[in-house]
Symmetry: C2
Subunit: 375 residues, 2 copies
């Protein structure tokens, strides 16, 4: 007896292509038969995590047989204080992608649509399609744009919105391009949207940004009832392995989104480590500084090599090889350096590199020089 389960799946899932994550070092080394490789593919913090967070995670191990605090009482209180909001404005997720998934499950489905920019984070279209809603990808700014090549095109995004749009996604800065929107342009854009469109402002990389006109969406919640800002502990806080993120919005919006939260969605060690990580602002500051210097190091090396790149304010940089990037990606792999190919983002000539420590960046540059000579 054969059953075609793909045909029985919901309309959105029938042709759904799941997310392709960066390969863990362990798996890659297994495949290639190499060791001592350098992974600069998943925008992880090269400094690790705060020692305070590690200690808190290890202390929490004593009670692993107990379910986590479902509502994350203490961490939500702590985040509320951190951001000057009330605890009922904070929703925890297993990474910020969990919060984004909740918004989709609450507001998108057949007959509705979600709007996002071309080259934006891959989970926006994946979640949208899985819900059965229509995916509307607005064209990005052109590759030869003088200020922000591949950036979000706000006019194009606005034009994609219609009466069936229920969610609009903006990543600021955007992953995988590193491009960004400044405060005045983004605020005016959100203000002009219908209030029935829930705006997901994904600020996963915001703590790395040093531009003076870069916005903090949380400060706009008083003006925009339809805004939810998402943040994560996976990037600058160095807790990717524990899966903790959060969303901040007005209580009325958050109450509806919370209805589809899975019980116990954040584990006990994640709750404990995230809380402790907030008590170590110097770790965050040092991480931002190392990233700032690393970005400059990579930019000047790439410029010397004559390679194109997209301007970035995140903890990663996207190279433009000017030809299909697969060979270069594979050649770097054989040198033990793992980058992220972007063909699934519609950018087959680009590779994304995570900013590492000074030594890691140097090793990557050296490997890249070797590879460019050979191919």
């Amino acid at each position: 007896m054969t059953v075609d389960f793909a045909a029985l799946a919901t309309p959105g899932v029938r042709s759904l292509q799941p997310y392709i994550p960066g390969k863990p070092i362990e798996e890659l080394e297994r495949e290639l038969g190499i060791s001592n490789s350098l992974k600069l593919a998943s925008n992880e913090n090269p400094l690790g995590s705060s020692p305070l967070a590690l200690e808190a995670a290890q202390r929490a191990a004593a009670e692993l047989h107990l379910y986590p605090d479902d509502i994350g009482f203490r961490l939500r209180q702590r985040l509320a204080a951190e951001h000057g909001v009330s605890a009922d404005q904070v929703l925890l997720g297993a990474g910020s992608s969990d919060v984004i998934s909740m918004v989709v499950r609450a507001f998108l489905g057949p007959g509705r649509n979600g709007v996002f920019a071309q080259h934006a984070f891959a989970m926006y279209p994946i979640y949208t399609q899985a819900s059965g809603a229509e995916c509307r990808a607005a064209v990005a700014l052109p590759a030869d744009h003088p200020d922000m090549p591949y950036g979000h095109d706000l006019q194009s995004l606005a034009a994609a919105v219609d009466e069936n749009t229920r969610v609009l996604f903006i990543a600021n800065p955007n992953n995988p391009t590193g491009t960004w929107l400044n405060a005045p342009e983004l605020k005016a854009f959100i203000a002009a949207l219908p209030a029935e469109v829930v705006v997901v402002l994904d600020e996963a990389y915001t703590e790395y940004v040093q531009q003076s006109d870069f916005p903090n969406g949380i400060g706009w919640l008083g003006e925009f009832p339809n805004l939810i800002v998402t943040r994560t502990f996976s990037k600058i806080y160095g807790l990717a392995g524990l899966r903790v993120g959060y969303g901040i919005a007005n209580p009325e919006l958050l109450a509806v989104v919370s209805r589809v939260r899975h019980p116990f969605n954040v584990g006990s060690m994640g709750l404990a480590a995230a809380e402790a990580a907030l008590d170590d602002p110097s770790f965050v500051a040092r991480s931002a500084e190392v990233n700032h210097l690393g970005l400059r190091q990579l930019e000047s090396a790439l410029d010397q090599l004559g390679l194109g790149r997209i301007p970035s304010v995140g903890n990663f940089l996207t190279l433009d090889l000017g030809r299909p990037a697969t060979d270069c990606y594979q050649a770097l792999l054989r040198q033990g350096v793992i980058l992220r190919p972007l063909a699934n983002y519609g950018m087959p000539q680009h590779l994304r590199v995570t900013v590492g420590t000074e030594e890691q960046n140097a090793r990557f540059i050296s490997a890249l020089e070797q590879v460019l000579k050979a191919c």
Copy 2:
């Protein structure tokens, strides 16, 4: 400007009532101003976790800044060997409820329906409704049934299935009733279902069961292409805080369900601890034995008190107070003993108690005696 976000939500979410989890001790003690309370409300393992699992979780803390292995390569290999299946038959979840949610998101939506038994695990209707599908709750066996009061009624379940049914949920044993189905009756029931109905066989408590005719659904996969068996590390393995569960099915079915898995859905510490927990079968055996003795202890004490109870093979027992249970629940709370009220399961006269250690059970029985005298 006011926006009615509930009205803008998807049809299923508009009237969705989320799951009500058991309160963490910390929160309850905060509310009541008490300390040293005893929580027997969430079917957690009173022996804690295997020391091997704790050590593995703590070792994993060194790499918390890295994303987990998205596909859980090692744990899936280990589970495949454990159950005599191939690794592509194993899907990991953040608890088995995550796997159940994936089945729903892959196969349920508007115009379809999900079938489950009255008094079955609360997440079946919650996930089904959230998807926009119709919830079909089959009436349970009657309260005065001689063998299995409140048990799954297989005739009633079969009658609820129609051409739009895509998922049918069976918990064996069932939570919160503790009732079960034996191998011949359950196998015949599944064999008679249309193969287009995906059967979720939720075996979260299976490791506790000692009945000789109790089935292992994994052994039936060769016969049923539409069967997915779910298991968890949250119960007998004592890792509820880390959120790890799994589903086992044929590769064709699992490939479709996996499309809606969230990337990195199981954290690094969970992967490491679960793998180590499988290396400690003596911890599992001891947990099962303590539970077996504890069930007998509770049963005989309740019989002496003249209180009704539902026969259970899980790590919990459901008492029938013969009148609304709220007063008794509250009075026990004031004695520092936390049980699970079942009004949201349509069982307002029942309370569920988790089997604890001998001392914990004795403390509960003593508190119950006090409470019954007073109310």
